[in-house]
């Protein structure tokens, strides 16, 4: 190899070493642990695929899968829709728009735990902001959501909370919207397209790569949901917010079953990979990249 290549590799080597030490080796190790009985303090002992077969019989595993899929199916599309609406608003030419953009982005930089503590209060069924608003618009008391106190509403409560961070995606959409050439809108307008048609036929196709990107990132993040459930509900009430990663954590550090938890991690990897491939395949015809 040329001397220049060596120097280039030397510059990259801290990152390569870091990647090997803190990502590649732990990933390979977890694949091995998933085939072992590994109670943390004793050395891992090979047990074949027993952890995986036990997963199939674990009610909590299936329950956590159901919860997590429900959450992803609700939170990801809603988050994208809210982000897109925010982006369209933030793309208007009005005074002080930069202030609005900053305000909408702010929740994204607030630490998750601080957000969680705040939202326990916001979602309180008796005194929280959300139900106070619902009372103000005269929603009958019998329809009032119990949010985190009610096993039917706790998961939607966390979905609602996730929309608080939609400003992060909205900033990306604003950037994409700015990239859409104005002459295309003018041409569409001349051809008689109304605002809805322009949005459907011009805006959406041209920002579709960014929509796909945020959708996939949302999927990955959604499947790994953990912190808020850990802080706000500990998986309750009645396991209604027991997310996959929370069950994984409990298996590893409450029940000392690191092998089982590693198997869960690999199943999660397979789920995320499959979901990503499916979304990529389904989107091939709909996503338009600039030539």
């Amino acid at each position: 190899m040329k001397r220049r290549t060596w120097i280039g590799l030397a510059f990259c080597s801290p990152l390569i070493v870091g990647l090997l030490a803190f990502t590649v080796i732990p990933v390979v190790a977890s694949a091995w642990f998933s085939l072992c009985n590994y109670p943390i303090l004793d050395p891992p002992k090979y047990i074949g695929a027993a952890n995986y077969t036990e997963l199939v019989r674990d009610d909590q595993f299936w329950h956590s899968i159901r919860n997590t899929f429900t959450y992803v199916l609700m939170a990801v599309p809603l988050g994208m829709a809210v982000g897109l609406v925010l982006a369209l608003l933030m793309n208007q030419k009005v005074r002080g728009i930069k202030v609005f953009r900053t305000l909408f982005f702010l929740p994204t930089v607030v630490p998750v735990v601080a957000n969680a503590v705040l939202w326990v209060r916001v979602l309180n069924p008796q005194q929280g902001l959300v139900n106070s608003f619902l009372r103000a618009i005269h929603l009958p008391e019998s329809f009032m959501p119990g949010w985190l106190a009610d096993e039917h509403w706790a998961l939607p409560g966390l979905v609602l909370m996730s929309l608080w961070g939609a400003g992060g995606g909205a900033i990306l959409y604003v950037a994409a919207l700015k990239d859409v050439p104005a002459e295309l809108f003018e041409a569409a307008e001349l051809d008689g397209a109304g605002p809805v048609q322009r949005f459907r036929r011009v805006t959406i196709p041209l920002i579709s790569p960014v929509l796909l990107f945020t959708g996939i990132m949302g999927l990955i993040g959604g499947f790994q949901e953990f912190t808020r459930a850990m802080v706000m509900t500990q998986g309750g009430p009645w396991d209604s917010t027991l997310f996959y990663c929370l069950h994984l954590f409990n298996s590893a550090f409450t029940e000392f079953r690191l092998g089982y938890a590693s198997a869960m991690a690999w199943v999660l990897f397979a789920i995320i990979l499959t979901a990503t491939i499916v979304v990529m395949r389904l989107s091939i015809k709909h996503v338009q990249y600039e030539q």
């Binding site: 001397r3 120097i7 280039g8 030397a10 510059f11 080597s13 801290p14 070493v17 870091g18 030490a21 109670p39 943390i40 303090l41 004793d42 503590v117 326990v120 209060r121 309180n124 069924p125 008796q126 005194q127 929280g128 008391e141 009032m144 119990g146 985190l148 106190a149 009610d150 096993e151 309750g236 009430p237 009645w238 396991d239 409990n250 550090f253 409450t254 029940e255 000392f256």
Partner: protein
């Protein structure tokens, strides 16, 4: 080009040196320094600092480096990874309920020998706490604190407002049910605005331990020849009766409404009782200081938890923290001396009692002379002196508690039959206990 090469070399070399210096095993530890991991929050920091300073004063030449490691009573991620990695502290706090499980998994060093030579006697400690410090006849920790769970407190003003005699607390659960009816107020929409008592304020398994023992139940039976780790008895008829009583409460007051009401007041200083919105509660000994701080003028009564007539009265169970040495460390004499001083010295037990407002596990501590005469703390002393219960003494404690919590949720939220839910919990935990017993037997064979 040569400059670039030099820069590239250092780009690699500098982090590598840092990495290697962080990974290589250090020189033998300073014999005069003990590392201690503690799980408490900011409010306990000052008293802990005072304890450490007092120890260092009385033991010139030994220093204690204290740092925080979370322990939510079911898991202690940092400690276990540190033990597995061989970098555990010299001394760690361990909650009494965790000890059997941690000892069975080989997380703790056997302290039987230093204890035998320490001049201390097992009967110097409150018995339930001593039980929580040993596993299969070996000593794995010295008990530090003793929490008598719980005292029953009531707000006399709310009793007066409801036309009730403020000097007559409930004795039986029928009394408690009647008082609850009188003291609970709802708004026209059915939301609770004042609650008698939330018997599930101590959530999950802790709630079931409290009421299960009040009903006279038992959660486990002692080990015997056929069951070397004991037997799970989660569906003991008295425990079933306790859960049936809780389910009745849940149906009557709507468990979701109760939770919505109690959640409205988040934070230790903002519980419904301190805010004058709940008439009765179960008080932990460490909350005496909260009561003084957040409701200093409240006219309260304090007594024992009511129980069914055929239940256990006085009742309660004992918990608390202990001090242990992680397995990967040899038991250093300085470390054991520190543990012994923390758990039994007059000075440490005095600070524990007066500053942390907790009870020492050392029965002979002089502070108890004062405590027993105190009108509030004396009630806790009575519970401590009379109770023989702990949560359980099984090496599947974390799973047992999780499983009891789930059984409660099935009943309270899903309307499941208490007997069937608890029987399912018993079977699951027994299965897990059996696998731990098998692992222990394999270990013993290997040795």
């Amino acid at each position: 080009m040569a400059g670039a090469a030099r820069l590239a070399t250092w780009t690699w070399l500098a982090p590598a040196i840092l990495l290697i210096s962080g990974c290589v095993r250090k020189a033998p530890p300073d014999p005069h320094v003990i590392t201690l991991w503690q799980p408490f929050g900011a409010t306990e920091q000052a008293p802990l600092d005072h304890l450490v300073a007092a120890f260092e004063r009385s033991h010139p030449g030994i220093r204690v480096h204290m740092s925080y490691a979370s322990n939510d009573l079911t898991s202690s991620q940092k400690l276990f990874l540190a033990i597995a990695g061989g970098v555990a502290p010299d001394v760690t706090f361990v909650d009494g309920q965790q000890l059997s499980e941690w000892a069975a998994r080989g997380a703790l060093a056997d302290l039987s020998e230093p204890f035998a030579h320490s001049g201390l006697q097992a009967d110097g400690f409150w018995r339930p706490r001593w039980q929580e410090s040993t596993f299969q006849g070996h000593v794995y920790a010295l008990p530090w604190g003793a929490d008598p769970n719980f005292a029953f407190v009531w707000n006399k003003d709310l009793f007066r407002k409801a036309g009730l005699d403020p000097e007559t607390p409930p004795r039986t659960l029928d009394d408690l049910d009647r008082l609850n009816d009188r003291l609970t107020i709802r708004d026209p929409q059915g939301n609770i605005t004042q609650l008698g008592i939330d018997p599930m304020e101590w959530t999950g398994a802790n709630c079931l331990f409290t009421w299960g023992y009040a009903f006279g139940g038992s959660f486990y039976s002692e080990p015997d020849a056929t069951h070397p780790l004991g037997t799970v008895t989660a569906d003991n008829p008295k425990i079933v009766a306790a859960l049936e009583w809780l389910a009745k409460f849940g149906r009557k007051y709507d468990v979701r409404k109760v939770r919505a009401f109690t959640e409205a007041t988040v934070g230790s200083g903002n519980t419904p009782f301190y805010a004058g919105k709940a008439a009765m509660r179960l008080l932990h000994v460490a909350q005496i200081k909260d009561l003084k701080k957040y409701a200093p003028t409240m006219d309260i009564g304090i007594g024992l938890i009511p129980a069914p007539l055929d239940g256990e009265y006085p009742n309660g169970w004992i918990g608390g923290w202990s001090l242990a040495v992680p397995r990967s460390k040899m038991v250093r004499p300085e470390a054991f001396e520190f543990i012994k001083w923390m758990c039994t010295s007059d000075e440490a037990t005095e600070i524990e009692s007066s500053e942390l407002e907790q009870f020492p596990a050392y029965r002979k501590a002089p502070v108890f002379e004062r405590v027993r005469k105190d009108p509030v703390r004396g009630v806790f002393y009575q519970i401590l002196a009379n109770s023989k219960h702990v949560r359980t003494l099984m090496p599947v404690q974390g799973y047992y508690m999780e499983r009891l919590g789930r059984a409660m949720d099935e009943v309270l939220y899903g309307g499941a039959d208490p007997r069937r839910s608890l029987a399912a919990a018993r079977m699951d935990v027994s299965k897990r206990l059996q696998s731990v017993a098998d692992e222990l037997a394999q270990h013993a064979e290997a040795r």
